[in-house]
């Protein structure tokens, strides 16, 4: 089984990789310089290549992350979530401009939405980030959803890690949507920004009902809308319910990202939140928790993939599934047989 062999190799050489030792088997060499070295040196093309390797689940990608991992942990990871259409890309574009003015190196990772069904469409509003395309201090990358089993959340953190290793000061991760899958992705962030706009009634209800997590910073974008005040009152009402005495006070900001208004205040609140979690020690515990769940997530993804490989090629398994469809064997018993089968297979 290909994946198994790959894992075994990673495990055997992965105890601890020295930064200085070029792992020629693992890294693509260009002359004498490895991909990892070029990445850590801030080479934009090396970063792009690294992300492609991770996205395509190439073993070289995993090897690369292993090699540069000791260099990570320095960048601020900031997650942006919220329903489609509120102007998150515009907001991130404006924030990038603000952060660039302070000479910070920025990487943006946009997780493209796609329906689990074929009718899915890309939003295509990445173009709003286009004014930064020529700035060498800004790196922008989109990543497509790989569906429920692909472990997009895990891949997103791997990408954030290489962006971090490449010397970016801020890694901005954008997701579209407000469900559990999106929460899993931005959960890797040190600071989570929820973007809303007047008319985001569904999101307010979701916050109120506890279906959506309370973020660290709330932005009401498109604040020139006449319903903005009503909206902010509603958000404030929800936050009052979830108030955590002694904890971080979630600020509610008004922005008009398209005109850059309120964006300096957003940058400031992100700074303040960072200071707060550093001084309280929550940054460290949050990262520890997220890294542990990353390990478990990757392991689960791999197990599921092994299982799917077993299923795809095996006539007996296909027959078992047919029996389930004919209501002869129930799904749980079939799952048990599948696991037994997988255990004895290799």
């Amino acid at each position: 089984m290909r994946l198994r062999a790959k894992n075994a190799r990673a495990a055997s050489t992965g105890e601890r990789t020295l930064d200085s030792r070029p792992v020629t088997e693992a890294s693509q060499t260009q002359g004498e310089t490895t991909l990892a070295e070029r990445l850590v040196g801030g080479d934009k093309r090396a970063l792009a290549r690294a992300i492609t390797l991770i996205e395509s689940d190439d073993p070289l990608g995993w090897d690369l992350v292993r090699e540069v991992y000791p260099r990570t942990g320095r960048a601020r990871i900031i997650g942006f979530t919220g329903p489609p259409g509120v102007g998150k890309s515009t907001l991130i574009g404006a924030l990038t401009k603000e952060l660039r003015a302070a000479d910070r190196q920025i990487a943006v990772l946009s997780i493209d939405p796609s329906s689990p069904f074929t009718r899915g469409a890309l939003l295509g509003d990445r173009i709003r980030l286009s004014e930064h395309f020529l700035d060498p201090g800004v790196f922008i990358r989109s990543m497509a959803s790989r569906g429920a089993l692909g472990g997009l959340s895990e891949a997103a953190l791997q990408v954030a890690l290489v962006m971090d290793a490449a010397g970016k000061d801020d890694v901005l991760i954008e997701t579209v949507g407000v469900g559990q899958a999106e929460i899993d992705i931005v959960d890797h962030a040190d600071t989570i920004v929820l973007a809303l706009m007047p008319g985001s009634g569904d999101s307010i209800q979701a916050l109120k009902a506890g279906v959506m997590e309370i973020p660290d910073v709330i932005v009401v974008n498109k604040a020139d809308h006449p319903m903005t005040d009503t909206m902010i009152r509603e958000v404030r009402g929800v936050l009052a319910l979830a108030d955590d005495p002694g904890g971080w006070k979630v600020p509610i900001l008004r922005t008009e990202a398209a005109r850059g208004e309120g964006v300096a205040a957003l940058a400031e609140q992100i700074d303040l939140h960072r200071e707060f979690i550093e001084s309280e020690g929550t940054l460290e515990s949050r990262r520890a928790r997220n890294l542990r769940s990353e390990v478990l997530g990757i392991a689960t993804s791999r197990m599921r993939r092994r299982l799917e490989e077993t299923i795809a090629g095996d006539a007996r398994v296909q027959d078992l599934l047919e029996q389930v469809v004919r209501r002869e064997i129930d799904p749980a018993s079939a799952a048990s047989q599948l696991l037994e089968h997988g255990d004895h297979e290799d």
Copy 2:
């Protein structure tokens, strides 16, 4: 390892269970009558007990589903999704009344929302179903979210199966929220109803962007609101984009569920959708696909749980995770070591 033993037993006896043979080890006997027999006979208390067993992941629950599984496949499974606050419970209450008038046996399964964080709150609007509590033809049950790893989606189908086996004509599954997790749950349904209300701008955007699946029936509840016409125009615009020539035409209904208005039309559209998918053969293929994914989902959940059990009790694994947090071993290499470890463990 307890779970492994449990699975092994299920596999060894589960090849095919005859309906007629009471599995005394598996079913709780009451005098001479097994729980499965009472369940299939329509005993309400037996159904309640069965669901509790499934919810608590008791092996008796799995055994019970195995025993009654050949009796399932008859009920209509109807899923309701949509943002909190649109009145889904009221709508389901009104629809239940409508279906009861046609003398159909109804089961309602409400999946309670809960935040992945401790600030989560129950909506508590189940009380809107209270007028049916005394009707012996209506069975109502709530199920709490067990978080990302608990396999709530799989458990929900198991519950739907026992409701089906108990002779219910319609199983109504309600989720709160519009994310991937909710889609996974209602995906077990034959017909998916999306409930919105005027002001559901976020959901419209999510449909438009392809983040949310196009459902089979759309209901705009609270249709006495002045913005209803605007809302319906927007929904119609989104549906036009996703139009599937020759496919099912998704109807957009106006309801005021609290006053029962439009609910007869909803019942009719559910009937029509059922006829459509039966005549097109999509009911069969949809159910086959969902049952296959249920098998895979249960298998994955169990693998993940095995892994977590391995982790919890093992000092070496804890040490490995600490090394990840100290940035000495990257998450993917740690996951590989974990899987190696699990493979060699028993």
